[in-house]
């Protein structure tokens, strides 16, 4: 019943971003996230063989008595996590070929994720950026945080060019505590550069998920006649023939997507391609399944 409300074209007709997020999430998920941190809770997780340096307090001596081997007893932590959404609001996100802009899709996605986290009592934060950080709301689970995040998402309109290097250096400063980092962008940059820029977040113990938002026309453009294309970020003009769009361009974008995926996986990042004509729940489901698998 709720599936039809996950269609981006239908969601575009809902003016209220909160209502959009609620519509997406309410019919989709219930329950809690598992904390990415193992801790001292009562719910047993696994045994692990002792290695020198491990805290001897966690050794299960009973097992040692029976088997003569040292094992550490591990438990699932029942703590809440921190979700930080990094939303790209560069000019290239303005593009739309069939009604819904990439920035709108990204906002729905960010709002839905934020609502999902808020629903689980997780701390939620938001950073919007283009060639600099434009909005920064530190993660928090306090009352009113959700609305602050929602307003910030609502304010996010394309205005400048993309530059991953500068804002991500600042992210490393502000995202010191571990949690989930959700990067929503069209990633018009070299995949290696993107991975190199984002990977430090992963190294600090964050789970980083890259949502690659693209318009279908960007993935598989079709022109009936030669077009003069105007770059939304640089204003550069270029005459492009239909045959180029269906030939070399397709090969290049496919190669770019493949490189993005492989570079992300190599850097321990989760990569998801989200085309703006695809329902949002697919992205959420894939996100949650990946999260579940990590627990």
């Amino acid at each position: 019943m709720h599936q039809r409300f996950l269609d981006p074209q239908i969601l575009a007709g809902i003016a209220n971003l909160e209502l959009t997020a609620r519509t997406v999430v309410d019919g989709f998920i219930a329950g809690l996230h598992r904390s990415p941190d193992f801790g001292f809770s009562q719910e047993f997780a696994e045994y692990r063989q002792y290695v020198p340096g491990d805290d001897l307090r966690y050794v299960d001596w009973n097992v040692y008595a029976r088997s003569g081997r040292l094992y550490l007893k591990r438990y699932h932590g029942e703590t809440n996590t921190r979700l930080t959404v990094l939303l790209d609001r560069s000019n290239s996100m303005e593009f739309a070929s069939q009604g819904i802009r990439k920035i709108d899709y990204a906002r729905y996605l960010a709002a839905s994720m934020a609502y999902l986290a808020h629903h689980q009592r997780d701390a939620v934060g938001l950073i919007t950026f283009d060639d600099d950080i434009r909005d920064f709301i530190p993660p928090s689970s306090r009352q009113g945080q959700w609305m602050k995040v929602l307003h910030a998402i609502d304010r996010a309109e394309p205005g400048h060019r993309t530059d991953f290097a500068k804002p991500f250096l600042q992210f490393q400063e502000v995202l010191r505590s571990r949690g989930i980092v959700l990067v929503v962008s069209d990633f018009y940059a070299d995949p290696e550069t993107v991975a190199r820029t984002v990977a430090p977040l992963r190294h600090r113990g964050n789970d980083v998920i890259l949502f690659h938002v693209l318009d279908p026309m960007e993935v598989a453009p079709v022109f009936n006649e030669p077009k003069i294309l105007i770059d939304l970020e640089t204003g550069q003009e270029m005459e492009v023939s239909p045959e180029y769009a269906v030939g070399p361009y397709r090969r290049k974008i496919d190669s770019h997507l493949a490189a993005m995926k492989s570079e992300a996986e190599a850097a321990g990042l989760t990569y998801l391609l989200a085309e703006t004509n695809k329902p949002l729940d697919r992205a959420l489901r894939e996100y949650l399944s990946i999260r579940q698998g990590r627990l």
């Binding site: 303005e94 593009f95 960007e218 006649e225 105007i230 939304l232 492009v240 361009y249 290049k252």
Partner: protein, 660 residues
Amino acid sequence: MGLLAPLFLTGLGLLALPLWLHLLKRHRSTPQKFSSLMFFERSTSASVKQRQLDYILLLLLRLALLALAIFAFTRPYVLSALLPAEKAGLTIIAIDESASMGAEDKLERAKNGAVGVIDSLPDGARARILAFGASTHLLTDAISEKDQLKAAIRSVKVTASRSSLGDLAASLRNIGRLTAEAKTVHLFSDLQRSSMPAAFNELRLDSGMALTVHPIEGKQKENWTVESVNAPTRLLDASTARIEAVLAGYHTPAATRTAVLRAAGREVARKPVAVPAAGKATVVFEGGLNIPYGFAQCEVALLESDALDSDNAFLFAVNRADPERILLLDSTSSNASYLYVSTALASAAGTLFKVERSGPTPSFTGVSAVVLSNPAALNPAAEESLRSYIRSGGGALIAVGPATAAAGRVPVAGLKISGSRYADRSGERFESVSSADQAHPAMEGSGRWESVRFYQTFQIEPGEARVIARLSDSSPLLLEARLGEGRILILASTIDGLANDLPLQPAFLQFAEKSMRYLSSAGERVRSVAVDSNYELRQAGTAATVDVISPSGQRALSVSEAAEARSILLDEKGFWTIRRAGGRAEMLAANIDRRESDLEAMPAESAELWQGAAGSGVAAGTVESDRGTRQFWPWLLALALVAGLAESWVASKHLRREAA
């Protein structure tokens, strides 16, 4: 393959228009915003190439449309074998019987070729034979009996006519309209260049008529001819005759030819003449031309034989006669009129005229013209005698004077005289001529009549008479009335020097001579004409019988024609004799038209073009072959139409796509 109208190929320049539109016209690409051009490369050349490829079909269709239309206008044709169906239908065999076909054995070869065509016809096929020169003679109807057709072919003989391919084409067009069936014309002719009409279009044949030309070529083209002879038509003194002849050569080298003057059946003189290569030379015979009185048949001929012998002699007729008798009737005893008239004629025309004064009972027998000076009322017998003389072709000059005015009318002519007018010293003193018809034979070359002073004139009511000259008060001065075949000139003043000074003026000499020539017809007699010329026998409304004897000695006119015919076609070479009422006779020499002397054939391209142009849309023959030309411009136009429709469809498809 050939083109009938290759000039239309210049229209191929129009092909540049679609090429310009498709290849050179600046293309505008639609601008569109895009996320990033990170994965695009500038590829303008590829874009243009794409655009050309995109419209190449439209371009090709437009080029094809223009090219096909232009090509159709050039009326292309291909040679192809005649279809059996085209071989059937009516076969028309046209054989040239003009004088030039008498050269060598051209006519025999033509007839043999025609017989061969008849033999090749399938049994039951119909054919029609015709011979042509200046006009066309149908020798048979459309029949299938080969024996009759061959007999008609064998009956064709060389005539003295000139050939006219334009007249032949007109006849063929008329024959073509009689039936709708396909017709094949086999033309056997030497195709002289001189036979072609001025405009090639006159050779066109109707659609459905195929033409096969069988040129009869001669081995020899060099031909000399006596082109013209300038000889006196009336010979008064046989010892001072001067005859000039012009010899002409066609495609000839420089050569000496022998010209012979023959008169009345015997040779008078012979002279060698050097004729330049393909040029002309003049030979003059002077001295005695001792011929008997009356008309003599004369000729200047070339002794040496050449390609065409029938044009080697030029015939002309000379009339040896005594001076023309002019009878002067004067009601007064004055000798002035006789003096002035006889002196003027002697001065202007030498011994041509002899003026005689009439006695109390005039006789008009043997008189060429009559001059009546101030005639009073004639006695009825004399007037009737004069009237009868004029009706039969005689002429009279009546100078009206006081005695005539007293009678109140002009004798014989019957015109009423309403009064006389004096120009005395108290008034304008004299009258002069205000207008005159200088084209009238009696006034021709008579100079300035304006200087003549008329002191007394008589006012004549012209009635049906023609006014030739008027005085300054617009009253008629000189009139012409017709009576039967004769003419009457009426002068509204005297010729005795009393009522005017006309006899003292130079204009009178010319007037006296010209009017007497006109009235006596001494200056009209043409002695040499071309065969196929029409000769006028009489004016309209005259009923006197005219008898015409052809060169072969037969009467050329039937009894009814002799009474009514206004002209006769001189279709035979030789001397024609014309006898009129009153015992007057004329002799005419009819010569072969000298255009027949040039034996050069029309260019082969013209013959092929004629065949190609004949019967558009159907097969036509080629020279001496069993193949025909087929025009396919209708197919080209149909293809152009298809290309146009396809172009419209493709263009609308592009427009829809661009609009989308």
